[in-house]
Symmetry: C2
Subunit: 187 residues, 2 copies
C-alpha cells in the first residue's frame, strides 16, 4: 500500500510523532486511507533505519515524551522519486496521495502519471460498456439473477465514469493553474 509514501507526504506537510500521524490518518488522510498506530510505528522505524526521517525526542510536561519525525533530504529525494515513478497497479488512494504530495516533487510528472491512469480507466470503461451492450441489450424487464449481474456491471461502469471525469477535472485544473516555478527552476 506504499504507506511509507503517504507518511512522507504527511510529514512533509508537517513534522510529527507516530501518535499524531495516527490521528491525522483517522481524519483528513484517513478518509481514504486507514492505518493503525501499530503499523505507523513499525513503518516509521523502518523509515528511520533507511534514513528517510530524522527523529528528535521532545520532552513534554504532563505527558510522555514524543518522538518527532522530520523528513530528511534522503526522504525528500525518495518522495520525489516515487512521485515521478509510473505505477500501473496504483489505485485511487495511491493516486490521491501522489496528487496531494505533488508540490513536494514534480507536478508535471504527477500529471503525466494521472494521464496514463486516465487512459487505462477509459479503456476499462469501454470494455464494460461493450459487455453491457452485448449481454444486456434491453435491461428493462430483467429480474432475479440476471438483474443482479446487470446491476453489478452498472456499478463498475459508474465507478469508471466517475474516475475518468475526476481525472479530467484534475488535469484541466493543473493545466489552467500550474504550480508557480520554484527557485530551483528559475536558476
Amino acid at each position: 500500500m506504499a504507506l511509507e509514501h503517504a507518511i512522507l507526504v504527511s510529514l512533509s506537510e508537517r513534522a510529527g510523532s507516530g501518535y499524531e500521524l495516527a490521528r491525522r490518518f483517522e481524519k483528513s488522510i484517513g478518509l481514504f486511507w486507514s492505518a493503525t498506530h501499530q503499523q505507523i510505528y513499525r513503518v516509521l522505524k523502518r523509515m528511520e533505519e533507511a534514513g528517510w526521517v530524522a527523529v528528535e525526542t521532545v520532552a513534554q510536561d504532563g505527558r510522555p515524551a514524543k518522538k518527532v519525525h522530520t523528513v530528511s533530504e534522503t526522504g525528500r529525494a525518495e518522495l520525489r522519486r516515487w512521485l515521478a515513478e509510473p505505477d500501473a497497479s496504483a489505485g485511487p488512494q495511491e493516486l490521491a496521495v501522489k496528487l496531494r504530495g505533488a508540490s513536494f516533487g514534480d507536478e508535471q510528472a504527477v500529471a503525466e502519471e494521472l494521464s496514463r491512469h486516465r487512459r487505462a480507466h477509459a479503456e476499462r470503461l469501454d470494455a464494460y460498456r461493450q459487455i453491457e451492450k452485448r449481454d444486456f441489450p434491453s435491461p428493462a424487464g430483467l429480474h432475479g439473477r440476471a438483474l443482479h449481474q446487470y446491476l453489478v456491471l452498472r456499478g463498475g461502469i459508474r465507478a469508471e465514469e466517475g474516475q475518468v471525469e475526476w481525472f479530467d477535472e484534475v488535469l484541466t485544473a493543473l493545466r489552467t493553474n500550474p504550480a508557480p516555478p520554484t527557485e530551483k527552476d528559475a536558476r
Copy 2:
C-alpha cells in the same frame, strides 16, 4: 475480504475446481475482486473442512484430474446468513458480491443492507461537501498545495456521489422488478 463468500457465490452459480475459480476471478468477478490460485486453494481447503463445500475428484483424459467443489447445504445456509447480515465495514466489492449473490438468499435483506450503506455514503458525501464549502469557497484561483488538496477532496466527493447514485439505481430496480416468489415462499 470475505473471499469465502465470493467463492460461495461463484460456486453457487456453477460448481468448479480451484483452477477454474482462479480463472473466473481473473475475469468476471475479478474485474472488481482479485485472488491468486494459491489463496483460492487455501480457502477452498478451509471451506471443505468447515463442510461448506463437497469435493469430488474428476478424472479427465489428457489432463490432470481436477477437484470439483460443490456448495453443500451447510454452505448454502452460511451464504444466506452472510447475505442477510449487516456489515457496516463492507466496501463496494463486498456489496457487489452480496448483490450478485442475492438470488441465493433473501433479496429483500440484501436490499436493506444496500439501503443502510446508501445512507452512510450520503452522510459522508454531505460531510465532504461541507468541508468543500468551508475550506474552498472560491476554488477558481487555487494552485500548488491548496489546489492539490482541493482536487483530492473533489475525488472523494465524486466517488461518494457515484456510490449514492448507484445505490439508488439498484434499489429502484429491485423495487420495480423484485425477484419472483420462490416455491418456499409460496408454501
